[in-house]
Symmetry: C2
Subunit: 279 residues, 2 copies
């Protein structure tokens, strides 16, 4: 069962970004991918670099024009698509939302980003209401999958709850990079970014697949490096820093096999974890 | 503030093991270490390789002869000692327990291993009642520290709760290795072992320090490789496969600095984590 991670650069032309994404999804399908995951907010540049009220114009309803376009290509190719969108829920309520479109083109469900960052260059708390749908698993035609988004990557709770919900693969649409001139710090940051996610794979016995943006937008460079880690936390394949489709053949039986050899879920001390739900 | 991890081999001579440990603790103190952590069950061979009722004779009360001996050396050297012991709580109730002895020689507290493994070669469920003291932080003279033991390493909940309790360094006395002839699998297992713990360092912004046994006991080889990871998850130093004291100078200010730059604790969704306390 092949999965594909699409990493691409974006311009201000949102229609062109969608066309590019659809082109890359088609290529991934041609190569046999059954589940294709796009990077975070693939329709636009990463606009959260600044707090500008005008940017709310970039949001759209779900279902909406983008999900309609993606549903068509999902159905045509009999593939599952995971797409990260700027969701307009109602006037004044916006989310950073990932949709899962099943291989029949139907909108299977959505995940609203639960952990919202606010750091220099990542002013997401200005734009996004924190998610209110919780951590979920989606039964797609090819696999039970979970979707989490970018900042969620740093939270073991998110990975755990999504795995407990039944997901065998955790997908992470991402937009992470560094300010120009900070390449040295970024190298170590990128290593930490990958390591913490490999840790989620190991602790939960699941595949982890992160699709990250590439390209330069103003003074930011997004590092790409999309990767798939297997349930042992080993990197199966990792992209470079340019546009690329990272394709990995996942052996879903490995999830159960790993959990039998490393029976962590058996030994969880659920009687002693209540403190996780407090500060 | 220097910490030391002692990795050593053990024989059936429990008195000799204690003498060896005390000798190595003395050396670590001479090199300026302020907190010294011994490996899991350092007084004996790793007896859980088999289920034998006679092995319960190896247990001792806490406080008991070992804590008394270690308290003396802690006081003499003004150092903190973390020691993993086979605790006899009462007839029929035994724990895998780590004690924290403060720099004045006083027994500051203990942690009873919460997650108990049971795998071929690690039959701990036969010997140890799962811990009932929860996840704790200890205010030692030199730092706020947490202690977790071996199998706990694979559980993000344990690291999170110990960090939330206030620990800036997580110590993991360990006895992990492989059956002879399985060196290839072991290499990948060792990498996963290190990765998941580096993930804990990153997710919580703490130092992680694991002291692992070395040497061959019957058909098992313990791989050593004791290491300290900083709050970014980078390995500061890592031991080899022989007897060794791994010493690392920790900058405790890095914990707060890291958490300001990577404010994960700020964004935890405590309203949505209740599911962690269920299967």
């Amino acid at each position: 069962m092949k999965i594909a991670l699409v990493q691409m650069s974006c311009t201000n032309g949102t229609a062109a970004n969608l066309r590019k994404a659809i082109g890359l999804i088609g290529k991934a399908a041609d190569k046999g991918a059954k589940i294709v995951c796009l990077q975070e907010l693939f329709r636009t540049p990463y606009f959260c670099k600044k707090e500008e009220a005008g940017n709310f114009d970039l949001a759209e309803p779900i279902p909406g024009p983008t999900t309609e376009a993606l549903s068509r290509i999902a159905k045509e190719n009999s593939i599952v698509i995971i797409a990260s969108l700027f969701e307009k829920r109602r006037k004044g309520v916006y989310h950073n939302t990932a949709v899962v479109i099943d291989a029949d083109g139907g909108l299977l469900g959505k995940y609203r980003k639960m952990h919202i960052p606010d750091d220099p260059g990542f002013y997401e708390k200005f734009y996004f209401v924190p998610g209110d749908l919780g951590f979920r698993s989606f039964k797609t035609r090819y696999a039970d999958i979970g979707v989490l988004v970018c900042w969620d990557q740093w939270f073991p709770e998110a990975a755990r709850l999504t795995a407990l919900a039944g997901a065998d693969i955790l997908f992470y649409p991402t937009a992470i990079g560094w300010k120009k001139g900070k390449a040295v710090e970024a190298k170590s940051y990128e290593e930490s970014w990958r390591t913490v996610q490999r840790g989620h794979a190991i602790a939960n016995g699941v595949y982890v697949a992160a699709a990250n943006r590439v390209g330069t937008e103003e003074d930011f460079k997004y590092w790409g490096g999309s990767f798939v880690a297997d349930p042992f936390g080993e990197i199966v394949r990792q992209g470079g820093s340019g546009e690329e489709i990272v394709i990995v053949d996942c052996d879903l039986k490995k999830v159960e096999r790993t959990r039998r050899e490393w029976p962590f879920l058996r030994d969880r001390r659920i009687d002693a974890y209540q403190g996780i739900a407090s500060r």
